[in-house]
């Protein structure tokens, strides 16, 4: 397993997702080798985006698990029912103490203070449970409780993504969008911000400089102050890529990066994706409908149809695969 972890950024085993009676994704095994560009293709409704959302931590899978960077991140929860008991542990202890105090005829003030302290502890544990900071998650793993990672945990672990329909922060500037993308890389807490220490001011200045570099990289120099919604469509797609890159991901998920683009913009995007792999050494997972794009840049192509994985291979193999042709064009009349 450790051998696989070293050569694969992401490893999905038997991933299934049901929405009620609909099996959107059925038992998919899938891996992304380090430094490669992998595409997922398939007809509409094949379950590509659902699979994508499972990897990104937005859905919990019905079964199966996903290992990311050698760590098991996404799977069905294990022993999660224990967790609420942990949260209410301080409450149980507090109630016990209060009862003992009542039984032994303790002063009213002491009982009130006990209740108050209990409430404070209960609140701390509840908030920790809801917020799930990384330390708390490590603690859970150590005592054998597993909960699937949430989107922000996946970003923290090194996954960046873009959306099929652009989801930029429309009323923020391009620069601010990228700065939000940097969220996990910045350290300033609310207290630091209030004190405005030199360290934090420096971090802020550096984040602006870094955001400008990223905008330069995706080909949007000189548009920092522009509102996201005022950018042309192609530029919005690039900005989304820049925002995803800001978290310094190991794996970049691009959901139809060339959807709705004209041929020239598509060519630019292909160039950008190739540059990202060569210059930044990124591993990229792509969902795409444009076959020219897929065949041109992918190392491996995976084909989904009706939630099932029907083919996997190099672009050339896929092009000749009869099952793929059937999925796209239907069976030839005999």
């Amino acid at each position: 397993m450790s051998g696989e972890a070293a050569s694969h950024v992401l490893l999905a085993r038997g991933v299934t997702k049901r929405f009620g009676g609909l099996v959107a994704v059925n038992n998919i095994d899938f891996q992304i080798p380090l430094g490669s560009i992998v595409s997922i293709i398939g007809p509409n409704g094949a379950g590509k985006t659902t699979f994508f959302n499972i990897i990104a931590g937005i859905y919990d899978p019905t079964s199966g698990d996903v290992e990311f960077q050698g760590r098991r991140m996404i799977a069905r929860p294990r022993r999660a029912w224990i967790e609420p008991f942990l949260w209410f542990l301080p409450a149980f202890i507090g109630i016990a103490v209060a009862l003992i105090l009542v039984a032994s005829g303790g002063a009213e003030a002491a009982i009130i203070i006990t209740i108050f302290v209990t409430l404070v502890f209960l609140m701390i544990s509840l908030v920790t449970g809801v917020a799930r900071p990384p330390g708390y998650q490590r603690f859970l793993t150590r005592i054998g409780i597993f909960r699937s990672a949430r989107p922000n945990d996946m970003v923290e672990a090194g996954l960046g993504r873009t959306f099929q329909n652009i989801r930029l922060f429309q009323n923020m500037t391009a620069l601010e969008n990228v700065q939000v993308g940097m969220h996990t890389k910045l350290k300033t807490t609310w207290l630091d911000a209030m004190l405005s220490l030199p360290r934090d001011r420096r971090e802020e200045v550096e984040s602006v400089a870094r955001a400008r570099e990223l905008l330069q990289l995706v080909g949007l120099p000189g548009r920092h102050g522009e509102l996201a919604k005022n950018l042309p469509y192609g530029d919005q797609r690039r900005l989304e890529v820049a925002r995803a890159l800001a978290s310094e991901p190991a794996l970049l998920l691009l959901d139809e990066p060339t959807a709705g683009m004209n041929p020239r913009e598509t060519r630019d995007m292909i160039g950008l994706i190739n540059r990202l792999r060569q210059d930044l050494g990124l591993t990229i997972l792509l969902i795409e409908h444009d076959m020219r794009v897929v065949m041109e840049i992918s190392d491996r192509v995976t084909v989904l149809d009706h939630g099932e994985l029907i083919a996997e291979g190099t672009p050339d193999e896929i092009r000749r695969n009869p099952k793929v042709i059937e999925a796209y064009l239907g069976t030839a009349p005999v």
């Binding site: 937005i58 609140m123 922000n152 989801r167 923020m172 939000v180 969220h183 630091d192």
Partner: protein, 386 residues
């Protein structure tokens, strides 16, 4: 708004002032607050102010306005910056006030130092902010508004009915006046309260400005814009929203302690829904998200509420105009607020002093090709998961 300023100050001068205030925001806040406080303090001794009320009544009014400013700036964090519609904000105000009353009154027999209680009260309010925030994290918009509304009703009712601990409707009386480092605040002269309030408002304003332009402020803005995209960019939406509730409640806690120490009485009728409503009105009028705009609006609203309407009533008692003489304008304040809100929504939804960004959001479609419809499908999917 800026048009009349431009007519007085030459544009290049204005630009350099704006650049300076952008770079040195804290200094600017201190200077402006100092000038405003000094002007208000001394001018209230001279006409036209002195015609209406004596100096001391003005100063007392300014202190009360300060309480409303604090409340408005705090709620502005929750509604304006993080976009969480909170209609039960008066609850945190009540918690701060009662905390001070428990800590410094003959009722409990405790007489703890004022500054200690000021901070503990704020922390206590922040804790309750988290208590309210935690269960409501999955709610948005109107659902959140209803839950917070409920919370805002529960808290004063609890204080009303737990009369063994709070003296119910009578409230806790004889609350200590502040005593800061040996300086005892007198009962009638309001000068020290005025100074204290000016300092607290200034500090709060500086801190909120700093938070707004920090990583946290950006995260709030991102959540307000698109929560799923925010999460997909590594923002822990849970902690970020809880922080908004906590920081908003902290400010209300300060306001509560200061208000209790000024009035020396705390009773449940001070924290009814009308308070939450007034503060929300202030935010809408002032321009959501704009800290100074909200502060100015709070000041104006308080002055209209406590001075202008009262003076109008008094004025028409003397001047016999048939219908107006019979009207008590003070009783109509909420009607007037309501009308003002409706008019604002119709003609200037971004508020009197809009935050640059909010103005853009509300005038969407006029200057951009929206594209919001495309987000619907994924919102539905997210709800299917939760």
């Amino acid at each position: 708004m800026t048009a009349w300023i431009r007519s007085i100050v030459p544009p290049e001068r204005l630009a350099s002032i704006q650049a300076f205030s952008g770079r040195h925001r804290s200094t600017t806040v201190i200077v402006v607050m100092f000038i405003v406080s000094v002007v208000l303090f001394f001018w209230s001794d001279y006409p036209p102010f002195s015609l209406f009320q004596p100096h001391n009544a003005w100063i007392g009014g300014f202190v009360n306005a300060g309480v409303l400013i604090l409340l408005a700036m705090g709620l502005n964090v929750v509604i304006g910056m993080a976009g969480l519609l909170d209609l039960g904000y008066a609850a945190f105000f009540a918690i701060g006030a009662y905390f001070y009353a428990f800590g410094a009154s003959p009722f409990t027999g405790l007489h703890l130092p004022f500054l200690l209680l000021l901070f503990l009260g704020a922390i206590c309010a922040a804790l309750f902010g988290i208590v309210l925030g935690a269960p409501t994290l999955r709610l948005r918009g109107d659902y959140l508004a209803i839950v917070t509304l409920g919370f805002g009703e529960i808290v004063p009712i609890l204080f009303l009915n737990l009369d063994r601990y709070t003296q119910g409707t009578n409230g806790i009386t004889g609350v200590d006046r502040p005593n800061i480092l040996g300086v005892q605040f007198p009962g009638i002269d309001q000068t020290l309260y005025f100074v204290l309030m000016a300092v607290v408002v200034t500090i709060t304003m500086i801190l909120l400005y700093r938070v707004q332009s920090s990583r946290l402020g950006r995260a709030w803005m991102a959540i307000r814009e698109d929560e799923l995209a925010a999460a997909a960019n590594g923002i822990n939406t849970v902690t970020t929203k809880l922080l908004a509730f906590a920081i908003g409640a902290t400010t209300a806690g300060f306001a509560g302690v200061l208000n209790a120490s000024k009035l020396t009485i705390v009773d449940p009728s001070q924290f009814l829904f009308t308070v939450s409503f007034t503060v929300a009105t202030v935010i809408v009028l002032g321009g959501m998200g704009n800290i100074w705009g909200v502060a100015v609006a709070a000041f104006l609203i308080y002055m209209i509420q406590s001075v202008v309407l009262k003076q109008l009533t008094g004025f028409f008692d003397v001047v016999p105009i048939p219908i107006l003489t019979d009207i008590n304008f003070v009783q109509f304040q909420f009607l007037l607020f309501g009308i003002a809100l409706v008019l604002m929504m119709l003609f200037r939804p971004e508020g009197l002093f809009p935050e640059r960004r909010r103005a853009r959001e509300l005038h969407e479609g006029t200057d951009a090709d929206g594209g919001d419809g495309a987000n619907v499908d994924e919102d539905v999917l997210v709800e299917a998961r939760t």
